[in-house]
Amino acid sequence: MKFPRAAAIMQRPALAAGATITLLLAMVALVSLVWTPYPYTDMNIAMRLQPPSARHWLGTDQFGRDILSMLMAGSRNSFAVGFVAVGIGLGIGVALGTTAAVRGGIVDDVVMRLADFTFAFPAVLSAIMITAWLGPGAVNAIIAIGIFNIPVFARLSRGSALQVLSRDFILAARAAGKGMARITVEHVLPNIAGILVVQATIQFALAILAEAGLAYLGLGTQPPNPSWGRMLNEAQTFMHRSPWLAIFPGAAIALAVLGFNLLGDGLRDLIDPKLRRARS
């Protein structure tokens, strides 16, 4: 007894907002490759810890670096982390998940047990261990985050693939003599692509958040490479007299995560509209 309600309309603005935020951030990241107000590594001790002004819109840090420039450059760091970490999870996870679904049996059991085990463990703790072991740095942080995206995509693609595999057209394809590998590529993957994209968007947001956390602990991106989480770490020392140092990078992280989450939720509603009309 559900009817299309205001929610159906209300949810589209969320999608629009998410798309706008992520597109804007992507543009900022691209622009930062060729232009920032100041070179983000330029130190100027005479101009240290300046509050926001006409010359430095978001102020300067303890070395006199321009915060806005650092934030702009930091955005491409976040995008890189998101793309690579989600890419690792997507690539390996989907391969494992669909294989588990198609093969079944012991392959399925082993893959899913492993996924359960990785899943149950606090990802941040494991990431800390991995980065501590391999040494702090952006690449190791990305790998650590990527590893914990694998079980997410493995589970999701296995579940969705099983649903697709139970449908009639798979039987028809098999009857037509097509092999399972071909069926997986031609029928299963296209049918689960939508839900994977949705999850990838959400994981992108989580990856940004996780990298910020690792960078804040000093385990992620190393100076002088700009990173929002790292900026927060450094801000903490000077926060008492220069609060803007702590406010802007955190706001940037929150905005990026919000944008990707809204985009993911919006896409999910678009793909899987729960508001189906039921009549008696």
Binding site: M1, K2, F3, R5, I9, R279, S280
Partner: protein, 319 residues
């Protein structure tokens, strides 16, 4: 004696794209100890009519007309008043006995809840009464069954529990929405017999909703055939079943492949499907699928004509 009097009942659903008429001018009266059968395909507005009487329509629904229970218009009653009437004066049995019971509560408590609510009974006394009700609806070892959870019962038993729950306060009106559709054929017959004996015993009025003409024929005194939210034909069961004045009624019977046949196949002989509420013509809702359809049917509401004791809303009625 008239218990329930429904007059020009209309239900519209508000949607982002406009208002959808779901029930369009339904009127009928119901006397004590009688059974009214509501027949039609899914989407014909039967269940919506029932929920409108219960005042349990979704919030996006607008209702107009009058629903008088012993002369009191329920559409004017506030929610507090309706909560006293529901379960006490009007009760309802739903189609899906599998899901209509709360899986986390013992069935005894679920039946007793109604009695505690409306009769101010103590829980102990209410449970005793629940056991008597279970016994009455044919559940063996009723006392022991009180502490069972729904998942421990069969579909037929659960539907009996639903009926016991509905009967708890001896309502004036019982609405049964497809009470047998989800059950096996043999269990269906038992539940129908149970309902008939309960109507006789308690003297309540029964509104029986079904798409199954066989069930309606066995239980109903009067029949109302609905389509597209409107009444196509109504009259005594005998008159409607023998006259079949409306082309839609004829279609329903023609689609019946023989007595006691399996459900779900009956309507294959009527070409087309039930149109969506926003795709209905201004005139007769059946116009698009009617073998006798003319331009006049599309543009004008059909007149109600009486033939052989049955009243059909049709420009070209008759066998």
């Amino acid at each position: 004696m008239t218990v329930l009097d429904v007059e020009d009942l209309r239900v519209d659903i508000r949607t982002p794209t406009g208002r959808l008429p779901i029930v369009r001018g339904v009127s009928f009266t119901l006397a004590r100890g009688t059974t009214l059968g509501l027949v039609g395909e899914s989407g014909s507005g039967k269940s919506m009519t029932a929920l409108a009487i219960m005042r349990l329509l979704p919030q996006a629904a607008d209702v107009s007309g009058a629903i008088r229970l012993h002369g009191e218009d329920l559409l004017q009653a506030d929610e507090t008043r309706m909560c006293r009437i529901r379960g006490d004066r009007i009760a309802m049995v739903f189609q899906e006995p599998m899901t209509a019971l709360n899986p986390l509560h013992r069935i005894g408590d679920q039946i007793a809840e109604t009695l505690v609510l409306h009769r101010d009974m103590a829980r102990r006394a209410a449970l005793d009464e629940a056991a008597r009700l279970l016994d009455r609806v044919g559940i063996r070892e009723a006392q022991a069954r009180l502490s069972a959870y729904p998942h421990q019962l069969s579909g037929g038993q659960r539907q009996r529990v639903m009926i016991a729950m509905a009967l708890a306060c001896r309502p004036d009106v019982l609405i049964a929405d497809e009470p047998t559709s989800a059950l096996d054929v043999t269990v269906q017959a038992q539940v129908i017999d149970l309902l008939r004996s309960l109507v006789d015993e308690f003297g309540m009025a029964l509104i029986l909703i079904s798409h199954d003409l066989g069930v309606i024929g066995r239980l109903a005194d009067r029949v109302m055939v609905m389509y597209g939210g409107a009444i196509m034909e109504q009259g005594s069961t005998k008159a409607v079943f023998t006259t079949r004045a409306h082309p839609y009624t004829q279609g329903l019977f023609a689609a019946l492949p023989g007595r006691g046949a399996r459900k779900g196949r009956r309507l294959a002989a009527i070409p087309g499907t039930v149109p969506a509420p926003d795709a209905l013509p201004a005139g007769c809702p059946f116009y698009g699928r009617c073998p006798r359809g003319q331009d006049v049917c599309r543009d004008n509401p059909p007149p109600v004509v009486e033939i052989g004791g049955s009243r059909a809303a049709c420009f070209f009625p008759g066998p």
